[in-house]
Symmetry: C2
Subunit: 148 residues, 2 copies
């Protein structure tokens, strides 16, 4: 007999292989809070940083996959949801604290939405900006992952 | 006759050699704002990221110099002031927007204060955390820069 699928899921649990939620140390005392992230603990070497903010909550960002570039996302303030799609499975992660980062490997379709008003997402990327590294068409993404 | 010293200074102008204010592109449209920072444009290779936030405004942070590590600071949200001291001259920079980053080379005494309630300072560093890289005693710092 096949086991029943779980009726409820812990939010933020990623079931597909590849993407990872990683804990980041945040040290808080009376002087304030300090978030620490050594690049040694990442699966790639960051070459670029970008940040998205002041995003209207009804808007989505992302909606593309990267062919080769790896990314690591930290929601430094506020919250947002990140939809991940590997062509077979979809998962959604709610990011709401700077002590958790999301690693997104290449060839994962990612979309950010439901940004809170104060949301600030900082992204480390493994390469310089390269328009050729983007797959912006979902059908093309599906063909590419199925032909791997 | 010696020229008169300027009566007023542009805030954020750094007169000492070494530290640099660098413009960062921020692209804003109806979908929100995007800050872009390629590590190629920095004078060092970042190996670590940290962030300070929830700092009480009466508190100071920093108050040390790094022997070898370089840093690049971006005030992603809110505002804070950074005092720079090379042992001969002092300068103060008010950081209040993510489109300006501050490069701080080694052997500059730096102190952060006057944090706004929502201030979030992201710092890229050229090395992993190393307690031996810090000079936390100001007199020792002064002796070190004078003996260089």
């Amino acid at each position: 007999m096949k086991p029943e699928p779980p009726k409820s899921r812990r939010p933020g649990l990623i079931r597909m292989p590849g993407p990872l939620l990683m804990k980041l140390p945040v040290i808080t005392d009376i002087r304030g809070s300090l978030l620490v992230g050594d690049f040694k603990s990442l699966p790639f070497k960051p070459k670029r940083l970008f940040a998205v903010f002041d995003i209207p909550s009804k808007n989505t960002r992302g909606q593309h996959a990267h062919k080769k570039q790896h990314q690591f996302m930290i929601c430094m303030r506020g919250s947002c949801s990140i939809l991940l799609d590997n062509g077979k499975h979809k998962d959604e992660v709610r990011m709401f604290a700077p002590n958790v980062g999301l690693y997104v490997p290449p060839m994962i379709w990612a979309l950010q939405h439901r940004h809170s008003e104060d949301s600030l997402l900082v992204v480390l990327s493994s390469g310089s900006y390269d328009p050729d590294d983007y797959i912006r068409d979902y059908e093309r993404f599906l063909r590419a992952v199925r032909n791997r």
